[in-house]
């Protein structure tokens, strides 16, 4: 009986630990559709061209939501540029340990129209993140930011 209890405990711990094992490729949702690849820099240069149908983007994961894994940022092929991949809480949970890995995300590009107040807050947040001086009164116009709402994501090692 003691052997049975020990064996069950070992099986439980090993099984649960296996979930943390690194995967060579991990899919979320439907997985990414590699046939619709578009460059992040091209998308952000002319976003209106990419709003009508689903697209796939590729990039190294450079930031992940640390609380719920509900968003991640992919590095663009252009310096200082990223695209946020955002899901509803729980639909997909992007692992923090995937930072630096290459991700492919297929979905719909969405435009978020910020009010003047939101634009100020957003730019102040970016300046704080980058440790830069920022004058909130310098913002006089509203802005639009873009993010991808994915139906499928593939993360490769």
């Amino acid at each position: 009986m003691r052997f049975l209890n020990t064996a069950l405990a070992v099986i439980l711990i090993v099984t649960l630990s296996l979930i943390n094992v690194a995967y060579a490729e991990r899919n979320f949702g439907t997985g990414a559709d590699m046939t619709q690849l578009a460059k992040i820099s091209s998308i952000l240069a002319a976003p209106e061209r990419y709003m009508s149908s689903p697209i796939t983007v590729e990039g190294a994961i450079v930031k992940v939501c640390s609380k719920r894994g509900c968003w991640m940022e992919l590095a663009s092929d252009k310096k200082f540029q990223t695209l946020r991949i955002k899901v509803r809480d729980g639909d997909m949970v992007f692992p923090m340990a995937a930072m630096g890995k290459v991700a492919y995300a297929t979905g719909q590009l969405k435009a978020l129209e910020l009010s003047l107040e939101q634009s100020k807050k957003y730019l102040a947040y970016l300046a704080q993140e980058n440790d830069e001086q920022f004058d909130v009164n310098s913002v006089t116009q509203t802005m639009t930011i873009y993010e991808l709402s994915p139906t499928g994501v593939t993360i490769k090692d």
Binding site: V62, A75, P95, M96, M99, K101, N130, E132
Partner: protein, 189 residues
């Protein structure tokens, strides 16, 4: 001859055996429940450690071809680079194959080594609690919920007499409903 079922005994036996089966699941959901309840105060899935280093030559060497290997050796990190990214004109990020993120401030000649390590077991508990597994786990956890409902209802018929639910102890059942109701009344209106 009709078989007479002793419902009281059957209920106790089922409550006992289903209860035994639910111990593991209840611990998993309860432990991860506490962990996830405090997501604003800590990271329930990963342990994130940071070490700050001052390396005086970063801004002069960052454009060199061997910068990355030089930096890794300065930081005594035996690994290789997986990806890199210019976050801003002053901030450069390097990701290593051993899950380090090097946050390089070229203006201040600072490097923060950030390492993300999954929390042993707890990450797996949270994985199940948040139904990241989806598919069959969804149905299995529905079954677990049904078993919990059975355990709750069958508990009402476990004890007869002066300690039964019809005695003063029944007030504890009432309290179990009143406490959440009070929170709803206080916080949701």
């Amino acid at each position: 001859m009709a078989i007479k079922i002793n419902w009281f005994k059957l209920n106790r036996s089922l409550h006992r055996d289903i209860g035994y089966f639910c111990i593991g699941l209840t611990l998993i959901f309860a432990i991860s429940g506490i962990a996830l309840n405090h997501v604003d105060d800590w990271n329930p899935n990963y342990q994130v450690t940071q070490q700050r280093h001052f390396i005086p030559d970063i801004n002069t060497k960052i454009d060199n071809d061997d910068f990355e290997s030089w930096l890794l050796s300065e930081l005594k990190l035996d690994t290789s680079v997986k990806a890199r990214f210019w976050e801003s004109p002053k901030k450069y990020k390097i990701f290593t194959k051993h899950n380090h993120t090097l946050l390089i401030d070229t203006q201040k000649n600072n490097v923060v080594i950030e390492q993300v390590t999954p929390r042993f077991l707890l990450k797996s508990f949270n994985f199940l609690h948040l139904n990241e597994a989806k598919s069959a786990w969804t149905y299995f956890s529905d079954l677990y919920a049904a078993m919990l409902i059975y355990l709750a209802l069958s508990a009402l018929f476990m004890v007869k007499g002066k300690n039964g639910v019809k005695s003063l102890r029944g007030l504890l059942v009432l309290a179990g409903f009143c406490v959440p109701a009070a929170f709803v009344i206080i916080y949701s209106y």
